[in-house]
């Protein structure tokens, strides 16, 4: 009797397991606040970018030279060098820093990225199509006083090979930002932010 019922029980069990698995595989979407901290793995992500930018901009705008005077010095950014093991778009970090500094009202930026476009537009305005009353005055661009640069570094350490079910990875990120006086060549301000994270991954799966 029991032997006869066994295939039926097995059928019911596997059917239920299959249904519950399929239900779990449903596609879902949800909105996430940019302020929410989410990490899927040990790698650099948008939560790190926000944390790094907030900390460094706070230090940059409250300490000398930017924090010490109200005349809004002119800055130029020369980008953040990526010295990590990931292809990280460091332009995005600098964009966020620039936005936050401008919003703080402590400094202004020369638009280095648009220099060629500015040149092109100036030439156009002086090319004969634009009325002299409305075209801009030449040679009135502002020279930068400070150069802002940075370096993003990472160190990764993997757990050595041994008998286990999970592999752990330790990752360290550091972003150092510098403000250099173009006139004197002195580093007038510098600070860095560090992130250390551990993640573990299973070695065996189904």
């Amino acid at each position: 009797m029991t032997k006869k019922c066994l295939p039926l029980y097995a059928f019911i069990f596997f059917s239920l397991a299959g249904i519950s698995l399929l239900a779990g595989c449903r596609a879902t979407t949800r909105d996430i606040s940019p302020d929410e901290t989410i990490h899927y793995d040990e790698d650099y992500d948008f939560s790190d970018k926000r944390a790094i930018v907030n900390d460094l901009v706070e230090s940059l705008t409250t300490r000398p030279p930017l924090g010490a005077n109200d005349r809004r010095p002119i800055l130029i950014d020369y980008g953040i060098a990526n010295r990590t093991t990931e292809h990280i778009g460091t332009d995005g970090i600098m964009d966020d820093i620039r936005t936050a500094v401008i919003h703080s009202g402590r400094a202004r930026f020369v638009n280095k990225q648009q220099r060629d476009s500015i040149q092109q537009e100036t030439q156009y305005q002086y090319g004969g199509s634009v009325s002299p009353q409305t075209r801009i005055t030449m040679a009135r661009q502002v020279g930068a006083e400070y150069m802002i640069t940075g370096t993003l570094r990472s160190i990764e350490k993997k757990q050595p090979d041994q008998v286990r079910l999970k592999k752990r990875t330790l990752k360290y990120y550091s972003l150092t930002l510098e403000l250099t006086s173009i006139e004197s060549g002195l580093i007038e301000w510098t600070d860095n932010v560090e992130i250390v994270r551990e993640a573990s991954k299973p070695i065996i799966g189904w």
Binding site: N82, R83, T85, E86, H87, E156, K201, I203, I204
Partner: protein, 412 residues
């Protein structure tokens, strides 16, 4: 007299095994047909056609997808589509990371079938070559920061599989160059120095080690390396620019099946690399001003891949023995001699050696550096048959230090 009739349970198992064997052989054939055609087109000098033949990643079962990414990476690189090649090779690197998790179901099934049903994860040296091509592509695209990222990733592979990969001098020289290209000269010095220590003849990297030791103020080291350098080499170090060439020659090796058959029906299958008759010829570099002093670091791709396979040999043997034992145990379970014979035939047919590998790799990779003076240079690279390949002219000014070229010579 022995009973030759099969029980219904035995019959089901045998049919399943025979169908699995036929299906496995058929599926493997379908995938490899596309890859084979693309490889043939590539070696016939039609890389663009070969890239088209490869199709999309979805056309390949997951077990062969890495091959698709790797072959596509090299084919697009040779076609001059460096950005597209980057994408294919980044996909390859990502795929390997995803496949770090060992699948119990696939590995278990492979124990009674064949290694070919497992996901191909690449030989250790092939994993390093993925980063080599990424470094080359990024440098050719004038993205030294991204090339540096790949150099760091390549170092991780080297650290993980030192025995399998340390003979890849080309990649190690390229790593050092990527450090140098972004101004990380301390890192570059360390890598060049390690390379000089490991190469049988360190002459091609000595000028760099000497130059960087001087730049870093390591006077003792600089003096030591100066003694090893001819006077003429020391003077060349002050050149304002360099042409950096990635020169590929010949065809890389292919995996060939080998079988050992023991009675009654035990078949051990394994693979060995077979070279495709490529011979190394030191490439000559000339300009309109005459023959140039070029230093080159070369990797014998076949030698590196053979070493890499040998490093894995113990693991392969253990698995092969386990598979043979498992098959023997299952075969012996059948009391019916006809059933046993059929099961043995099925197992014998299923035991297919895993000959999958990256076949568009060249036989030799050489990193050649040529110091350049100010002015315009029209450079040519000469191959083994004296054929000169002209490169686009280079105008050396204060703006740019390195000019990159990728050249494939002979044996297409």
């Amino acid at each position: 007299m022995r009973n030759l009739r099969l029980s219904s349970e035995s019959g089901r198992i045998i049919i399943w095994l025979l169908v699995s064997a036929c299906f496995g052989i058929l599926v493997t054939g379908c995938t490899s047909a596309k890859l084979t055609r693309a490889r043939d087109q590539f070696y016939a000098g039609k890389p663009a056609e070969a890239a088209g033949t490869l199709g999309a990643p979805e056309d390949y079962a997951r077990r062969d997808r890495l091959l698709y990414f790797m072959e596509k990476g090299v084919i697009l690189h040779e076609a001059g589509a460096y950005a597209e090649s980057v994408q294919a090779l980044l996909d390859a690197a990502e795929f390997i990371v995803q496949e770090e998790i060992l699948s119990v179901s696939r590995e278990g099934t492979s124990l009674v079938t064949s290694e070919r049903i497992t996901v191909y994860r690449g030989e250790y040296a092939e994993r390093l070559f993925i980063h080599s091509y990424l470094m080359m592509n990024y440098l050719l695209l004038d993205q030294p920061d991204d090339a540096y990222v790949e150099a760091r990733r390549a170092l991780q592979v080297l650290a993980e599989y030192p025995d399998a990969c340390s003979g890849d001098y080309f990649t190690r020289g390229l790593i050092a160059h990527c450090f140098e290209a972004v101004g990380e000269i301390n890192g570059a010095y360390i890598e060049y120095r390690k390379l000089a220590g490991d190469m049988p003849d360190p002459a091609p990297v000595l000028p760099k080690v000497y130059q960087l030791a001087r730049q870093l103020g390591f006077d003792d080291d600089a003096a030591r390396y100066a003694d090893m350098l001819p006077e003429a080499e020391r003077q060349v170090l002050s050149s304002p620019a360099e042409a950096v060439m990635f020169i590929s020659q010949g065809k890389g090796p292919v995996k060939e099946p080998r079988n050992i058959v023991l009675p009654p029906s035990i078949r051990f299958s394994f693979v060995q690399y077979r070279e495709r008759g490529s011979r190394y010829f030191p490439p000559g570099v000339e300009s309109t001003r005459g023959r140039l002093r070029a230093s080159g670091v070369t990797t014998d791709v076949a030698a590196v891949l053979k070493t890499s396979l040998n490093v894995r040999a113990a693991r392969i043997m253990v698995k092969e023995t386990s598979r043979a034992t498992a098959k023997e145990v299952i075969s012996n379970q059948f009391e019916d001699p006809m059933a046993e014979a059929l099961v043995r035939i099925a197992f014998f047919l299923m035991e297919e050696p895993d000959t999958r590998g990256w076949e568009t790799l060249p036989g030799y990779l050489t990193l050649t550096r040529v110091p350049l003076d100010r002015g315009v240079h029209a450079l040519t690279v000469t191959d083994a048959y004296g054929t000169a390949i002209s490169l686009s002219p280079v105008g050396v000014s204060h703006k740019r230090k390195y000019f990159y070229f990728s050249v494939r010579l002979g044996d297409r």
